[in-house]
Symmetry: C2
Subunit: 122 residues, 2 copies
DNA sequence: CTCCAAAAAAGAATGATTCTAATTCTATTA
DNA sequence: TAATAGAATTAGAATCATTCTTTTTTGGAG
């Protein structure tokens, strides 16, 4: 656990949003101007591999990173791109039952229109 | 519907696998040597936007494209990278009920170990 | 204090994808 | 049939996120 990793972890923990590597880099640079992009990626990848954080791919955008509090799924508004979290606890069991063998994990992203975009009908 | 688009559509329809843009480009070039990569992407993007095919992102690999026969979800072996299809018809309704509002679509990828990799315990 | 290994820094390199500009089709109209 | 306009294609440059390579720094063990 290096200073850099602690800083990146902090930034993720204190954000309520999903951050791109670029945003994390920007925020990290405010606190530690010497930090390099490669360090951000190295640590994000290491933490992702260790299961401490979660890399989220959204079509047509840079990957986002997400602190992991509990397993959760994502809700993406196709109008404004806002991402929110939700969780369907029964899904894991349902999937194992359907497939007939154990699963390691799953990624679920639901596309919808948030209330504002629904109104604007974009 | 241009010749190029028909060719790309054919390649996707005749494949039982999920193909990357690169693979599609290679196969297309066999039949139509003058075809350009940009044309492949243009058409794949257009068809994806029109809902005729489906772009699938797999972490750490190039995006794949998939003909759409019926809505389906993906099963990814974390050992060998093999992709297969399955479908959980009830999920859409379950999600709408849980979220309390309509959804546009969803993407579900389940990670598991296929029978061979299970044996090899990679 | 010195040495070693691990991590970080810098910035070049990569690779998938998109963009731009120029060319070629296609379909329609005259 | 010829002319024209618009759309699609081509070629290849450009972009952007991400990774890689090399050098430098750091922090702990002896």
């Amino acid at each position: 656990m290096t200073k850099q990793r602690a800083l990146i972890m902090n930034i993720l923990n204190q954000s309520d949003r999903h951050l791109t590597a670029d945003e994390i880099f920007f925020l990290a640079k405010l606190k530690m101007p010497s930090i390099a992009m490669a360090t951000v990626y190295n640590n994000l990848n290491a933490m992702n591999d260790a299961g401490l954080i979660h890399r989220l791919h959204i079509d047509g955008a840079a990957d986002c990173f997400d602190k992991i509090t509990e397993p959760h799924d994502h809700l993406l508004c196709d109008g404004c791109g806002k991402i929110s979290d939700f969780h369907l606890p029964s899904l894991s069991d349902t999937l194992e039952a359907t497939l007939g063998h154990p699963l390691l994990s799953y990624d679920l992203t639901v596309h919808y229109l948030c209330a504002e975009c629904q109104k604007g009908k974009r």
